[in-house]
Symmetry: C2
Subunit: 418 residues, 2 copies
């Protein structure tokens, strides 16, 4: 069979399975999730054996140690996958909920009913835990899912997906509701991205290169973010103790993630009072500062920022710092260099707080809080499948609800159109 | 300037204008809409003069009389464009509304704020009224809009857009918030569909050919429906008087639109009692029946349906009729041949009504009402910009709210991530 035929068959059978999943009661979906949560623990030995095959391949191929780190499945990876599934099982099922009911003058009762999207394709890189995390969320929301992990994690993903398929079957659900792509070559990704007849949504997870490839080649809607160039703006008259704590947390607590601060904008009225203190703390944490000329005058030890530093996602212990004349300049900077991901203002001024919230067009805008809160769990959505900086369908962290849509349901008594 | 450069310049300036539109207070947006509503009436002579140029072109080119009908602007077209704008001005502004506020255990207050999408591209065929209707809705929702009408309506569209731009300018808003594409060649559409950096959404309006062309070539998200193959299922034990009225209305009241019934499914238990009566009414209205073998046994005058008739969007006084064994077969038929647009059940049975609503995956599912109600105005959304059968972002009729999205806004008091 050609790759195209194989992938079309997978997508077609996923579509069929999605019809059963859409009808599946919550209790049965939760039963499957909890069964998988247990079975992942029971099958630790098998999972690790398959993972070892991937690891030895990767080592032979000379892949970096950071890469191999992400690929490795430890006991704690297994426990966290299992716990994650239990959390998802405990979340409220969005499917079937009815909202926004209104009565029309002719007596028609119009509502919206939440329904699954159908078939979701997940395209990701080397972390095998995505296989379990993403499948759990998609299933709970009543969807079928096609998983395409990095070819380097092929054996690990097959082992994990096998456990999920077995649990589906044992609960009388179609095992085609969770499928992996049994082709290592990248051409399989192109084939997957052409199945617009059977797949409703593609979610790519990984580096900017992977995501751009998916967006360029997909005929199916894609939810994604390319990068997170997140800003904190320290306003004139801000509580500088609070500003220091927020900026330090936003940069240092976990620098390698998309909601970490990359650029700090400081009002010139507080620059001299604020910068030396935070610079000392950054220095202790090993953070390199790349400053604008005004910043460098206040902090002579700082490196000079270049034009490339402003739109950069460092994902590292590096921060760009710019002193701005006022909030207009801060907003202008964010509009020019930002990525619509997450921005925060630290301020004590009521009307500037309101204006920042209104005018910044990012998916999450905060007042007096760390950018690190852009996360489904932290914002109260439960587990998340990713963060969208596309405005269509979902903007910000995506939880179970974002894996569904609504249809209109209408109750009549024989009404016809005049 | 090359076509690409021209279009990029239009898209870039639309993006800039969209920032001002996003901040624009409701009263100012309504002022512009009402000014345009008046000015369209005042400029009737000018609009008709420009329209005449398009009409004489179209006649010379030998275009069909149906085509010329759609292209022509009469006094009543002008009145209805003007009235439409007044209606949109009277609708509630979705922008800025805050919803779904929740308090996190750490004291963060998390809400969603409704914001405009940004820049919307509308690609349509020959009806010049779309220029005014679509621009009005996009502006009210705080967006900038780029209009690409059919090249046959070039002069009409320029005249109408000119009136809108003048009103924007007079109200101190950027006239780049409404732009037409000053290039007649189709290559301009391809250039438009590549501006993913500046345009957030494309809405194509027209025949299936245009829509497929847009979907195939767009790098920007597209909201669309290809066609409406809408079904009415007359259940066993249905009130046959009601069923007759609903089926007649769904087929005959306006057969050329996407929410008209194309196929009638009748339970075998009521087929003999129901079909002869409705067939008589259909015959009086000039409706051709194409029936399955069972239908043709009951209605000897009916034509035989072929396999091509089941997925067909007739848009005409033609109806396909099939007798089914039970509701399962009706649902299976709709899943196989339907277009996810609109389906209705006529029934007196509580649990079958519930099941039909739950299991049919179309954008609007009705019980005991005509399919003709799939319309933004009829369902209480106000004016609509189209109907989406894509599940992402909007599914069903799209009103002002569907031309917006939400961002998360977070109020903190210095919270950092643990």
């Amino acid at each position: 069979m050609s790759v195209e035929t194989t992938i079309t068959e997978i997508a077609r059978s996923a579509r069929t399975a999605s019809r059963d999943m859409a009808k599946c009661p919550t209790a049965k979906k939760d039963e499957v999730l909890l069964k998988v949560a247990d079975e992942i623990i029971n099958q630790t030995k098998h999972i690790k054996k398959e993972n070892k095959k991937d690891l030895s391949h990767a080592k032979k191929a000379g892949l970096s140690s950071a890469f191999i780190d992400r690929l490795a499945i430890s006991d704690s990876t297994i426990k966290s996958m299992s716990d994650g599934l239990k959390e998802v099982a405990a979340l409220e099922d969005p499917v079937g909920s009815v909202s926004r009911t209104l009565m029309r003058p002719n007596g028609l009762q119009v509502s919206r009913m939440r329904i699954p999207l159908g078939v979701i394709g997940i395209i990701y890189e080397s972390r095998p835990n995505v296989t379990v995390d993403a499948a759990g969320l998609c299933l709970k929301a009543g969807n079928a899912v096609i998983l395409r992990g990095g070819s380097e994690s092929f054996c690990s993903n097959q082992a994990l997906a096998g456990i999920i398929k077995k649990a589906l079957k044992e609960s009388g659900l179609p095992e085609e509701a969770v499928q992996t792509v049994p082709v290592r070559e990248r051409i399989a990704v192109n084939a997957l991205l052409s199945q617009e007849e059977y797949i409703d949504l593609i979610i790519p997870r990984g580096g900017e290169g992977l995501i751009r490839f998916v967006v360029e080649n997909s005929k199916i809607p894609v939810l994604k973010h390319y990068k997170g160039v997140c800003h904190v703006y320290v306003d004139d008259g801000a509580d500088l103790g609070m500003a220091g704590k927020i900026c330090f947390n936003a940069k240092v607590q976990r620098p390698g993630v998309c909601n970490a601060m990359e650029t700090m904008l400081v009002h010139r009225g507080v620059a001299k009072a604020f910068l030396p203190g935070i610079a000392k703390e950054f220095a202790r944490a090993g953070v390199e500062i790349r400053g604008c000329p005004k910043t460098c005058r206040i902090l002579p030890m700082a490196n000079k920022a270049t034009e490339e530093d402003w739109p950069a996602e460092f994902l590292d212990l590096v921060v760009a710092v710019r002193v701005v004349d006022d909030m207009d300049q801060a907003i202008g900077h964010i509009e020019k260099y930002g990525s619509n991901h997450t921005e925060s203002i630290v301020t004590s001024d009521y009307s500037r707080a309101r204006r920042f919230l209104r005018e910044i067009g990012s998916s999450v805008v905060l007042v007096n809080a760390s950018t690190r809160f852009n996360d489904g769990g932290q914002l109260g959505l439960g587990a998340e499948i990713g963060i969208s900086t596309s405005k269509l369908h979902a903007f910000g962290p995506m939880g179970l609800e974002e894996l569904t849509t609504t249809k209109f349901i209408v109750f009549g008594d024989g009404q016809v159109r005049e």
